[in-house]
Structures are given as C-alpha cells and as structure tokens.
Amino acid sequence: MKRKAVMAVLIIITFLLQCTVFQTLALGGISPNLLVILTSSMGFMRGEKEGMAVGFFSGLLTDVFFGKLFGFYTLLYLFLGYGSGLFHMMFYDDDIKLPMTWIALSELVYGLSVYFFMFLMRSRFDFAYYFLHIILPELIYTVVLTLLLYRLIQRLNRFLDRLDEDTAATDYSAYTAGPAETDKQTEEL
C-alpha cells in the first residue's frame, strides 16, 4: 500500500516536472522524456507488473492532458513498461550500461511509434527529417539525463525495495535506513 502511494506520488511529480520545468529546459526545442525514463527503469528494476502499472498511469495522464486519441499514449507506455519488465531478470543493480541501453531503446521505440502512428499515418513521409530533428535529439537528451539521474533512480529502487520488506516481513523493520541500504547491496551481490 505504502509502495503504491510512493509510486503514485512519483508518477505525479515526474509528470508535473515533464510538462512544466523540463519544457523550459528544452535545448533547441527538444526536451527529454522523463516519463520514459521512469516507466522503463521501473519496469527494468522491478519487473513487468510494476512497469506496466507505472506505464499505464503515466500514459493515462499524458492522454488526459495532451492526448489526441484517448488511449494512444496509455498503450504506448504500457508496452514500454511491460517490455522493459520482461528483461527484469537481466537487471543487475550496479551495472549502468544495461539500463542505459534499455532506456535508449525504449525512447527509440517511443519516438518511432509516435512517428509511425501520428505522422506517417497523416502522410508525413520525410522520415529522415523527423528522425534527425526529433527522435535522435530527444533520445540523446534523455540518455544523458538518465546518466545524471541514475544514482537517484537506483536509490529510489532500493527505497521501494525497503518499503516492500517493511510490509512483507515486519522483522526487517528493525533495520535503520543506513544498514538496510548496504545490506541490500551485498544481498544482491
């Protein structure tokens, strides 16, 4: 329950930042996609169910406020969350390369599907332009942002893990914040 609340707050904050602060931080008219980072890292770190949930609600919010076709973004983010969740097995806490690759890939899938369904379908055929001017810059910006944010995401994941433990087994609640974190690390090693 607590974990769900934290997740909900996380999605809300990310969405708010995405459509206010980060739009003003846009470089050359391109802003990074925080929602993709959140969705695929949650899927990747915490499995397909949670990735799915985060993706579903992130997409739903985007649809409510900015959607053209209600359900499109929900479906897209749902796919991203579920897809990254499938690779949960490969996740290894301290390795940054894999999550980075995965987020870049998610971003690519996101860009390509928006282009395909929203632009190609309206006979905008200049794929090279859209790829070079929208998809690629957004991808790079997002990946760079992930690099900067990865520590934070990692800590967040551990925090969520701890919330899990708190509810699952109250024995663990004796641990304070500090030891529990290192404990988690060694456990995963």
Partner: protein
C-alpha cells in the same frame, strides 16, 4: 518472501486486458469523441494547483531575470526612444486622419469586426505538451470559467489556436503551429481563400504552411496579412494569423502555396485570451 498475493494473475493476462482496454478507448475516442470526462475532472483537481504553483514560481524567476536584464538596456534605450517619441507624435497626428478615413471605408465594406466585440477570458499557460511532437498546451481556465471546446484562443494581436479539450478548471489548446492544426484563412488584401497548416518541420524556422491559395493571377504578395476566413466552421472571421513569407505557384497552375510567419510569438507565450463566444451560436450569446 513476496508470496502474499493469494490469487496472483499472470502479468501477461493483465497486460492483454489493459491493451484491449486501451484499444477500446482509442476506438471510442475516434468514433464518439470520448475523452474521459470524469477522469479529466479528477486530474484537473490534482494537477492544476501544482502546475499553477510551478508556473508562478517560474513566472517570478523570469520576471526577476527580466528586470535585471532590462535595467541596463532600458537606460540606453530611453534616450533613443525619447527621440522616437517626438517623431512619432508627428506621425500619429497624420495617422489619426487616416484612421477616420479607414473607419468610413470599413463601414462601407462592413468589415468593422474587431476583437472588441467578443467576450474574452484571460488565461495563463500552465503546462506544455509532454513530448516534442505536438504543440498543445494547458491553460488554467476551464468550463467553470466559460471556456469550452472549439473556442478560439488569441494573444496580443493574433490567433493562437483553438480549445480542443476542456476540464472544469483547465483546458487543452492546440496552437496553430501544431502539426495537426488546419485553419481556413484568407489573404486580407485580395480576399482569396487558403488554408493555414501547422508543420513540425517549419516550427524551428518559426513559420507555418499556407496552401491552396486560390489566386491564379498572383495578386497576393509577400508581406500580405492573412486572417481567418469567413467560411471557417470554428474560427471567427478576421482574426489575424500572420504575414506571408514566401509564395510559389503549385504544380497544378491554379493554386499557390508557401509559408507565413505567425503574428504571435509562440516561443514566449505565457498568457492568452480565450474568446468565449462560439462561432455557431455567437448570435444567441449576444442576446443573453
């Protein structure tokens, strides 16, 4: 350790169900215009206060930054402007005379519709589209303030866009530079009809597309004013869109197309005016 859920449904079934749900809403949205009314309302109450807050902080920071920037500039400009004031005072008196003539002519033309006659509501932009593909934004006024779908949105002198979705305390506006925007327009000087279409490829250059201008003789020229046309279904006629930037004859030898520069600076847009009269029932509302 995590086997507490007694009936754990395999995630692929949940996934399949959610996918079907999404596809269902997409079809519903496409065929009936379903847009999750109740959801919009709930989301409005959750998000709009925050967005307003962030917007206020942003506005404050911006104004502080602007003040500092401006101070140095202002002093230098002051002198320059003083000289201009003298010059313009002279010119103004001359233009006043022209104004009277213009009024007379406009009355003759029955083209005296200015923005003044519409009811308007001022609104702040509180959020921009989450992605980089579209140019929609959210304003802080909704159905509770009389803003509704299909109302025109203007800023300063020109057309900004149209309300495409409205919650009780927020509304989504699609700007005319958005890739999906298409406005029926006319060239003011020649009254030739055309269409103005947003284009993602031209946004960087600050321009929008103009096409199917029915002007075989080539009477319209660069710099001409383009306004919304009287045949438009949703846009009030005579709202300023922009100025022609480039024109060329199409392959069919009948129509012209090109680009135009919008009158509104979309990069630095912070507040807008929503015209709360809808085009179809404008007459009814005036009677109220």
């Amino acid at each position: 350790m995590k086997k507490r859920n007694r009936f754990s449904v395999p995630s692929k079934y949940i996934f399949a169900a959610l996918v079907l749900l999404c596809i269902g809403t997409m079809f519903a949205s496409y065929s009936t215009g379903f847009a999750g009314k109740t959801l919009s309302r709930i989301c409005g109450y959750v998000f709009v206060p925050f967005e307003k807050g962030i917007n206020q902080v942003g506005g404050w920071a911006r104004s502080k930054k602007d003040t500092l920037d401006d101070l140095a500039e202002t002093q230098a400009k002051n002198q320059e402007l003083q000289a201009q004031v003298d010059e313009l005072t002279l010119e103004n008196s001359r233009l006043m005379q022209n104004q009277y003539r213009l009024q007379e002519l406009e009355e003759l033309y029955a083209l005296d519709q200015t923005y003044g006659e519409y009811n308007k509501v001022a609104a702040n932009i509180i959020a921009s589209d989450a992605g980089n593909w579209f140019n929609t934004f959210v304003i802080d006024k909704g159905t509770a303030d009389g803003v509704d779908v299909d109302m025109n949105v203007i800023a300063g002198s020109g057309l900004v866009g149209i309300v495409t979705k409205a919650g009780s305390n927020w509304a989504q506006v699609r700007s005319i530079i958005d890739d999906m925007s298409n406005v029926s327009a006319q060239v003011l000087s020649t009254s030739d009809l055309c269409f103005v279409k947003g284009d993602l490829q031209l946004i960087d250059q600050g321009m929008i597309q103009l096409y199917q201008l029915q002007d075989t003789e080539g009477r319209a020229s660069i710099g001409d004013t383009v306004v919304t046309s009287h045949v438009s279904e949703k846009y009030h006629s005579g709202l300023l869109i922009g100025y022609i930037n480039e024109l060329s004859l199409d392959a069919n030898n009948l129509t012209r197309s090109g680009t135009l520069t919008p009158a509104v600076d979309f990069e630095h847009l912070h507040s807008v005016l929503v015209i709360t009269d809808l085009k179809q029932n404008g007459a009814e509302q005036e009677e109220e």
